[in-house]
C-alpha cells in the first residue's frame, strides 16, 4: 500500500477558459493534518473536489490513498468529504441524515455518530435547513467521520463559523485524529486555523502550489532578515528570497535556505507561520514590484 495520502503529478483543472488549478504536483504522506491555505479563489476547493472524485482532472494524474478517486465503492468508502458550505438536504432531519449515511456506507459507525450528535446537542428531529452554520458543519463532519475514512477532506469547514464554533469544530476534529488512524486535509484562508491544528502546510496561490511541506521543517528552513535600507545592494547569497519589503528605515526579507544563515549586515530572525504564509502569498505580487526590477533575484 502506498504511504501517500494524496499524490498528484502535473494535475490541472480548467473550467471553460480559466484554469482553477495548474501544474500541481504534490506528495502528501499519510498520518498528517494538512493545512491547505491560500486566498479565496486560489484553487483549494478544486483540489479537494478532485481528490474527493467530484471533479475529473483536465490534465495530469491524481491518486488518493494509492487509487484514483471515486474509482469504485471501496475507494469512496475510504475517503470522507465535508464540502464548503456543509451540503446537507435542508428538508431532511438530523436523524434522517444519519440514516442516509447508514444506508449508503458499508462501514458506517452508527453508535459513535449518535453519541457525537448527542454531545453536540443536536435535536434528532430538527431539519437540517434550520440548523446554525456551526451545527451544519458539525453534522457534516459527523457524517464524514462515521464512514470511518482513512482520509478526511475538509473544504473550508470553518469559514462561515463564529470564533467559538470554529474552536469547537477544530477541537472535535483533533480529538478524532487522536483516536483514529486518519489523515486530514483541511483548507482554509486563515492561517490561525492552520496553526492550531496542522502539522503540514500547502500554500496555494493563483491556482499554483507555492510551497508544501511539514510545518516544522518549513519554519526551520525560513528566516527573516532585517537590514538597513543601505543594505539594498547586497543581495544575500545562496538563499532564495521569498518576499521583500521596504519601510522607511529598514528592509525586510523572508528567505529560504537549507543550510545555516550567516549574513553580515543583517539581523536574522525566525519566521512565524503567518509570516511564512504571507511571504508565499505575496510572492506573485513581488514579481511585479519595482523592487524586483531593481535587482532582487527571486
Amino acid at each position: 500500500m502506498s504511504g501517500l495520502a494524496v499524490c498528484t503529478e502535473g494535475l490541472g483543472k480548467r473550467y471553460r477558459h480559466r484554469w482553477a488549478l495548474e501544474d500541481c504536483s504534490l506528495r502528501i504522506p499519510r498520518g498528517h493534518v494538512v493545512g491547505l491555505v491560500g486566498p479565496n479563489g486560489a484553487g483549494k476547493s478544486t483540489l479537494l473536489s478532485l481528490a474527493a472524485g467530484l471533479l475529473a482532472p483536465t490534465v495530469g494524474s491524481l491518486e488518493v490513498l494509492g487509487e484514483s478517486p471515486a474509482r469504485d465503492v471501496a475507494q469512496l468508502a475510504r475517503v470522507g468529504f465535508v464540502s464548503q458550505d456543509a451540503s446537507l438536504y435542508p428538508w431532511l432531519s438530523v436523524e434522517d441524515h444519519l440514516r442516509l449515511g447508514a444506508h449508503c456506507n458499508p462501514r458506517w459507525d452508527a453508535a459513535t455518530a449518535e453519541v457525537r450528535l448527542a454531545e453536540l446537542g443536536l435535536v434528532p428531529r430538527q431539519r437540517a435547513g434550520r440548523l446554525s452554520g456551526g451545527q451544519r458543519a458539525q453534522l457534516s463532519l459527523t457524517i464524514a467521520l462515521a464512514k470511518r475514512p482513512e482520509l478526511l477532506l475538509l473544504d473550508e469547514p470553518v469559514a462561515s463559523l463564529d470564533p467559538l464554533a470554529r474552536r469547537e469544530f477544530l477541537g472535535l476534529m483533533m480529538s478524532i485524529v487522536a483516536g483514529h488512524d486518519v489523515s486530514i486535509v483541511l483548507s482554509s484562508h486563515l492561517v490561525s486555523d492552520i496553526e492550531r491544528v496542522c502539522d503540514y502546510l500547502i500554500v496555494l496561490v493563483d491556482s499554483r502550489v507555492r510551497v508544501a511541506g511539514e510545518i516544522d521543517e518549513l519554519l526551520a528552513a525560513h528566516h527573516r532578515l532585517v537590514g538597513t535600507r543601505s543594505a539594498e545592494d547586497e543581495a544575500p547569497a545562496n538563499q532564495t528570497v521569498i518576499a521583500a519589503s521596504v519601510t522607511d528605515r529598514q528592509r525586510l526579507l523572508v528567505v529560504r535556505s537549507d543550510g545555516p544563515v550567516v549574513e553580515p549586515g543583517w539581523v536574522i530572525e525566525s519566521v512565524s507561520l503567518e509570516d511564512l504564509v504571507l511571504a508565499y502569498m505575496g510572492q506573485g505580487a513581488v514579481r511585479q514590484d519595482p523592487l524586483a526590477a531593481a535587482g532582487v533575484s527571486l
Partner: protein, 357 residues
C-alpha cells in the same frame, strides 16, 4: 441507496398520490351511475327508436368532470416529468447536495439508476391507476360517440409509456442544463415535439393503412355543389382521404377538391366553355341562360355541369386504420415511448457519470 431515493421522492409522490386518489374517489362515486344509465337507457334505446334525444341528453351529463378527467390524463405524464423528472439531478446540482450524495460509498451509476428507476416506477403506477379509472369512467361516453381513435392518447396503456418518457426526458435535461427551470421548460418543449412527431408521422403509418376506393358522389345542386364522403366504417380511423381523377391524378384532400377539401367550383366563360376549378376543363359546353358569368340556375345548366363532373370519373381513395388495429397500435406506441425513455435514461446515467459536475 434505495432508502435515500425513496426518502427524496416520498413527499412529491405523496402529493401526487393524494391528487390521484382524490380524483379516483370522485370517479368511483359518479361512475356506477353513468354505467347503469348507459346499460339501462342508452344501449337499449335502439330497439325503441328515438336514440338521438337520449344520446344527446346522455352526452350532456357530467360535462365538467369529463373535460377535467380528459385534461388530467392529457397533462399528467408531462406534470410528472416536470416536477419529479426535471429536478432529479438539477436540484442536487443547484443546492450543492450532490457533494454529499456522491461522496458516500455509492457509485454515481447506482445513485442515478436507482433514483431514475424509482421515480419512473412510482409515476407509472400512479398514471396507470389514473388511466385505468378514467378509461373505465369514460367508457359509456366513448361507446356513444364511437370515437375511440380520437382519444387514443388519453386511454388505456399509452399514457403510462408517456409518463416514463417524460420523467426520463426531464432527468436528462436537468443533468445537461444543471438548472431545474431550464430543464422544466425543455421538458415541456421536448415532450410536446416528441408526442406530435409520433402522433403525426409514426402512429398513422406504423402499420400500413388499409386503402379503399369509393365512388365520389359529387352532386351539382341549385346552391352550388356537394360531395358525400366518409370512411368505410364509422369506427375506422381515416388517415388520409383523397379525391383522384380517373386518370389517377390527385385533385383534392380531406374529401373535397383542393388541398383544404373545399367543394368544387366552376368557372364558366361567356362562350359556354367551363373549367372545373382544380380539376380540369369541361369537355362539354355549358348552356348559359341568363348571360351572367356564373349561371347554375336552370336544370339544363346543372345537368351540363354534372356531365362535366362525371367526365372526370372522380373517386375517393381512403387510407384508414380499422378498429382491429387499435390495441396493436396502443402497445406499439407504448413500446416506442418506453424505448425512447430507456435511451434517455441511459444518456442521463452517462452524463451523471462522465460529464458532471
Amino acid at each position: 441507496m434505495t432508502w435515500l431515493a425513496w426518502r427524496q421522492l416520498r413527499t412529491g409522490a405523496a402529493v401526487a398520490a393524494l391528487g390521484v386518489v382524490g380524483l379516483l374517489v370522485v370517479l368511483a362515486v359518479t361512475g356506477p351511475h353513468l354505467h347503469d344509465l348507459y346499460d339501462t337507457v342508452v344501449a337499449p334505446c335502439a330497439a325503441h327508436g328515438d336514440c338521438a334525444t337520449v344520446t344527446a341528453h346522455f352526452q350532456g351529463l357530467d360535462a365538467a368532470l369529463r373535460h377535467l378527467s380528459s385534461a388530467v390524463l392529457l397533462m399528467a405524464p408531462l406534470l410528472f416529468g416536470l416536477f419529479l423528472g426535471a429536478p432529479l439531478v438539477a436540484r442536487e446540482l443547484e443546492a450543492g447536495t450532490y457533494r454529499l450524495a456522491w461522496t458516500q460509498s455509492v457509485s454515481r451509476t447506482r445513485w442515478i439508476a436507482t433514483r431514475l428507476c424509482l421515480v419512473a416506477l412510482v409515476s407509472a403506477i400512479l398514471v396507470a391507476l389514473l388511466t385505468t379509472a378514467i378509461t373505465w369512467w369514460l367508457r359509456p361516453f366513448d361507446l356513444v360517440t364511437a370515437g375511440r381513435w380520437f382519444s387514443f392518447d388519453q386511454r388505456d396503456v399509452v399514457p403510462v409509456a408517456y409518463v416514463v418518457f417524460a420523467v426520463a426526458l426531464g432527468a436528462l435535461l436537468g443533468a445537461v442544463a444543471r438548472r431545474t427551470l431550464v430543464a422544466m421548460a425543455g421538458t415541456i418543449a421536448g415532450y410536446a415535439v416528441a408526442r406530435y412527431l409520433v402522433a403525426a408521422f409514426v402512429r398513422p403509418y406504423l402499420f400500413g393503412p388499409r386503402r379503399a376506393s369509393l365512388p365520389e358522389l359529387f352532386q351539382v345542386t341549385a346552391t352550388g355543389s356537394s360531395a358525400q364522403v366518409g370512411p368505410p366504417q364509422p369506427n375506422d380511423w381515416v388517415v388520409s382521404n383523397q379525391i383522384v381523377t380517373g386518370a389517377g391524378r390527385v385533385v383534392g384532400q380531406s374529401g373535397g377538391i383542393g388541398p383544404n377539401g373545399d367543394l368544387g367550383f366552376f368557372d364558366v366563360s361567356r362562350h359556354g366553355t367551363a373549367v372545373f376549378v382544380g380539376v380540369g376543363r369541361c369537355p362539354n359546353r355549358i348552356p348559359i341562360t341568363s348571360g351572367a358569368g356564373h349561371s347554375q340556375d336552370s336544370a339544363v345548366t346543372r345537368a351540363a355541369l354534372q356531365r362535366c363532373v362525371d367526365s372526370f370519373h372522380l373517386h375517393q381513395v381512403v387510407a384508414y386504420q380499422p378498429p382491429s388495429r387499435y390495441w396493436p397500435l396502443q402497445w406499439s406506441e407504448a413500446a416506442i415511448f418506453v424505448a425512447l425513455a430507456v435511451a434517455l435514461g441511459a444518456a442521463c446515467v452517462w452524463v451523471v457519470r462522465r460529464r458532471l459536475p
